[in-house]
């Protein structure tokens, strides 16, 4: 009798699942407040006068907590939710019989990684200069 000795192939799914979960927490906990504070309340005129002025926002995004506040916001409101969305779209495409294979996996997670990197780059570029 032949005994199977080869190591089973290690799955990469835990990585995507962890990013999906972390992004899901951000989407549920951080995004409702972020959407209200940045997109809905200011548009309805429900913020104080110059709260979103250029000087105040630049100072807050690039300088509060040595720039860590801006980085944390980019991570929690942009990068992790992007990987959450990539996971949902990858599996949603499978449900619609439009994808779910390697191509849609590379496309979804690749775009999420690229867009996340763009977000961090936009922040760091302005922070350095």
């Amino acid at each position: 009798m032949k005994i199977e000795t080869a190591q089973p192939k290690r799955s990469d799914e835990p990585i995507w699942w962890a990013l999906f979960s972390a992004g899901g927490v951000c989407f549920a906990v951080v995004l409702p407040g972020a959407i209200l504070a940045l997109a809905i309340l200011p548009a309805l005129g429900l913020t104080t006068g110059d709260s979103l002025s250029y000087a105040r926002m630049a100072d807050m995004v690039y300088h509060s907590l040595w720039g860590l506040a801006g980085l944390a916001f980019v991570a929690a409101a942009i990068c992790l939710p992007l990987f959450h969305a990539a996971h949902r779209i990858h599996h949603g495409l499978h449900d619609l019989q439009l994808g779910g294979g390697l191509a849609s996996k590379l496309l979804c997670y690749g775009l999420a990684a690229l867009t996340s990197a763009t977000g961090v780059w936009l922040l760091v570029k302005a922070w350095v200069s």
């Binding site: 906990v29 409702p32 504070a37 997109a39 449900d95």
Partner: protein, 133 residues
């Protein structure tokens, strides 16, 4: 006369389930499942708005004013309102999963705690970004 050849086989071939693309429309549970999957679409719109804002902030004050004007357009506000509703629907489904995956405390208690976290973060962001601090 039929176009299909008549089979003489006694045993049927391998079972091949027929599943069409819109299988999920047939049951409320699966419609809600697909709706939950779709919550990421308005989310992506809002993330796009954020990236656009981050870009404008790094350019100039005039660009930033342009972003504020963009965000105040009715269709943008409407899509972001949709993103807000989607985030709450996602939160409801996500919060209900956590006590089942990791039962640390009674489910109702954990769900309430998670909504409290969302509420506190929202209050903090509104107070800070709204200029009340």
């Amino acid at each position: 006369m039929s176009d299909k050849p008549v089979s003489n086989k006694t045993a049927p071939g391998p079972y091949q389930p027929v599943m069409h693309r819109y299988w999920w429309l047939q049951h409320r549970y699966f419609r809600l499942y697909m709706l939950r999957e779709a919550t990421v679409l308005p989310l992506l719109f809002f993330i796009g708005c954020l990236l656009y804002g981050l870009y404008c902030l790094g350019q100039s004050e005039a660009q930033w004013q342009g972003w504020l004007a963009f965000m105040a357009q009715p269709w943008v506000v409407l899509l972001n309102l949709l993103a807000f509703i989607a985030s709450l629907f996602h939160a409801k489904t996500f919060f209900e999963l956590f006590p089942r995956v990791m039962p640390l405390a009674p489910a109702g208690f954990m769900i309430a705690g998670q909504w409290l976290a969302t509420l506190l973060v929202a209050a903090g962001l509104i107070v800070i970004l709204g200029g009340w601090i």
